[in-house]
Symmetry: C2
Subunit: 480 residues, 2 copies
């Protein structure tokens, strides 16, 4: 052996990998490959160095490394021995019975259910008209934002005291929410989370026990359905009437109600104050909590928005959920949750336990973006722009498919619902549109109760008038 080993090693002296590294890797390979038998003694480092024409140091380093890794056992003055049981040859190392399984692993029932979930719809490639849920990123002030980011990153070394939710962002955001959304809170109540969906997951897990009942709207937001179900809830879908979620005498009292009162998702309906108060009274009586998802509550075209449920509620049972993805641009991703003051500490612990923390540098950049006025300026400019696009979209759809689509004029937001004749198959229609380059989301995929409603959910905010007209023509051709 002492004579064979040098011949099994092939060291390149081309200045690539160091010789120590090559020697270590090759010796390790010979051991795991079974070419050096367990219990075998290696030559001494002096011998090995000589036969390989290496420095003694090189060999000693390699031997020490392999001893540290556990491949060799060596003691002072003695030649190193190959440790037992290190061959990775599967035929020897593993019990026969397991090879048959091909190492398949079993996923949890939740993970298996993901393959069947129809949420979220994944659109590959570049966004195309009329994919819903998108703001126009071309209009976002990327330069102003990148300056905020750079400044925040440069100031990072000065911030060694770092609560997980950055007070300057909490304060800036709260001022905005108080004035524009009627939120009543202290800054500490605002948690900054990686995404609005993470906020939903957090609140659902903190409130729901396995088997609890929870309500969502139907048609409604699939992300809420999956988050409440994942937290163990039995989810009931409550149909809408003209004012939004139609609170009826329910079979099961909910512990948690998910609503989108600002512009109902996907119909765009504004829940009027009367229904808001009715919902709050119902929640009080049922001791239920409410998640108010104000996902695109910034963009109102008809009148000023109705005050948020959170600010109207007589007791702190409303969790207000928002996102920067719509009012800034999608990639910022951050969401926020306004939690009741009495539970701030518990929710901050929950954030840590689930790992739903975000970079303070990003939070600081957002704080500056808001306090500098860039945030509100952008929202105002986009509100005008998106209103124009909504109107253009209404016009174009009326011209191209007015007889086939009944469009609910949304009071705000970035998308609209175009209802089709009940005999339509909106899934097929949506698939045909997709082939022609127009993205939509079929209404039937957003219905969580039995209903024959058919329609298309279409985004208008991210496309200019020319793009809207072109896509509407394609849509009209296929719908007719």
């Amino acid at each position: 052996m002492d004579e064979l080993l040098p011949g099994m090693l092939h060291l390149a002296r081309d200045g690539g990998e160091t010789l120590t590294r090559q020697l270590t890797d090759q010796l390790r390979g010979l051991i795991t490959g079974g070419h050096l038998a367990p219990g075998q003694r290696l030559p001494s480092s002096r011998q090995l160095a000589k036969s390989l024409a290496l420095s003694r140091n090189t060999v000693t380093f390699a031997i020490e490394q392999l001893a540290a890794e556990g491949y060799l056992s060596s003691s002072a003055g003695r030649r190193p021995i190959v440790v037992e049981g290190l061959s990775l040859d599967r035929r020897k190392a593993l019990p026969r019975s397991n090879r048959a399984g091909g190492g398949r692993i079993e996923l949890s029932s939740w993970a298996r259910s993901l393959q069947r979930a129809n949420w979220p719809p994944v659109h590959d490639g570049r966004p195309r008209p009329f994919q819903p849920g998108l703001a126009d990123e071309r209009e976002f002030p990327h330069d102003a934002w990148s300056c905020c980011l750079r400044r925040a990153a440069r100031n990072a070394p000065l911030r060694r005291d770092r609560p997980i939710n950055h007070p300057p962002l909490q304060e800036a955001l709260l001022r905005h929410l108080v004035v524009h959304r009627g939120i009543k809170a202290t800054p500490g109540q605002i948690l900054i989370v990686p995404t609005a969906q993470a906020g939903l997951t957090l609140v659902a897990n903190a409130l729901l026990e396995r088997g609890d009942h929870a309500w969502i709207e139907s048609p409604g937001y699939g992300g809420a359905n999956v988050a409440l179900a994942a937290a163990g809830a039995t989810v009931s879908a409550i149909p809408l009437d003209a004012q939004g979620m139609a609170i009826a005498a329910p079979e099961d009292t909910p512990r948690l109600i998910f609503v989108t009162p600002s512009h109902q998702y996907p119909t765009g309906r504004l829940m009027p104050i009367g229904r808001r108060l009715e919902l709050l009274r119902y929640a009080e009586a049922a001791s239920a909590c409410i998640i108010e998802d104000d996902y695109d509550g910034e963009f109102h075209y008809e009148a000023r928005p109705v005050a948020a449920l959170q600010g109207l509620a007589p007791s702190p049972r409303v969790f207000y959920l928002g996102t920067f993805s719509k009012a800034t641009y999608a990639d910022i991703r951050f969401g926020y949750v306004v939690v009741p003051e009495a539970h701030i500490e518990t929710f901050e612990r929950a954030q840590r336990h689930m790992g739903m923390l975000t970079s303070i540098t990003m939070q600081d950049a957002l704080a500056e973006f808001i306090t500098s006025g860039a945030y509100l300026g952008h929202i105002r400019r986009m509100t005008r722009l998106y209103k124009g696009r909504r109107d253009r979209m209404l016009q174009a759809l009326a011209a191209e498919a007015g007889d086939r689509l009944a469009i609910e004029v949304p009071a705000g937001g970035m998308q609209l619902l175009a209802r089709c004749h009940p005999h339509t198959d909106d899934q097929k229609l949506s698939a045909r549109l997709d082939e022609a380059g127009v993205v939509s989301r079929p209404l039937s995929s957003m219905l969580y109760h039995r209903s024959g409603e058919q329609g298309l959910f279409l985004g208008f905010a991210a496309w200019n008038e020319k793009e809207i007209d072109q896509a509407a023509r394609i849509l009209g051709r296929i719908v007719r």
Copy 2:
């Protein structure tokens, strides 16, 4: 009433709020306050404009806004009526029985358990020596990083096609992990998550069913304990021997095993190759999965690190978990998980369902930071620096408290474990140190099996030699 209403309104003409906004807000307040009774008719907008000396338009806008919000019902040519049931006066609006509860909400058993959890330890204020888990942020190249961030933000408009895990970061990170950690994977197997703890939550939920058994090390990482338990597992704590987790004949076969083979948390022990293979063989036989947490696997001081379990495993059942928080600086927060190739799609869906997505701008900045060489350069510089600090810490502790503390020399990482005499109360000792300005974590709070072991977990990486000497003197004084 027609005559009273103008007297109830007080409009300021000082150029602050617009008159429309003042009028809207005040009318809304009168309705919700019960000063305008349900069913009551308001004066016509013409009359109101006249008596308030406002333009007709101002009044019309306010009425339309309140009608849109649902406070007033108005029809063409008729005077608007106050809608029923809008008073927010709690005494009237809410059922008596609920006022008694004070609006308290009930949290889930998970959320209630958070208040009792001893993880994570929260340190208020600026970090102090020897708080474990911290890298030295003063040494981080903040300028290079802020340039990467700004460039990535500026390039954002060009990136409209955005998979949730950014391929350039996956590729750059994989190259690093293959060379330095022995990972075997394709780039698509790497998921970028908001934090390593989020990655742990994600994997635990995708693998564990309620009642499944899971193993952690003891002493071990509290974050794993809470994540596995939150996912429904019955967690067993497996004591360590000199090689790490001591795989014994267990009562219950685990479905998931959490280990920190690189430097065991908190002992800093390196799991040698023999134990690694034993663990892999056990997992194969038991059809168990492994989460390999390589949280500070970048910093090795004695020899090159042992190859990761992930690369050694004969079948894809190891989830490799890493973080940028230790190798860059804590605020970047992002973690990553290498998942089996067969399950990429399921895990990406799981990321979306739980909202564990991160900004592509940040991911792109990290990709550039790695490919530019700044990442590896920083790791190499820090490895030299931290090794020096480890040695200084060993020296200082030996000099100040050598007779009271038995220190395990960690092969790498950023902290060490100093064992105390079994009669010590390490919780009390840690509290006394904290009062004196020295932060530690008592070993007993990291033990998950019955054991009388006592000790202090101390970080050395984030402090310079002077700070180490000073804090060691304080520690020595209190320990003696």
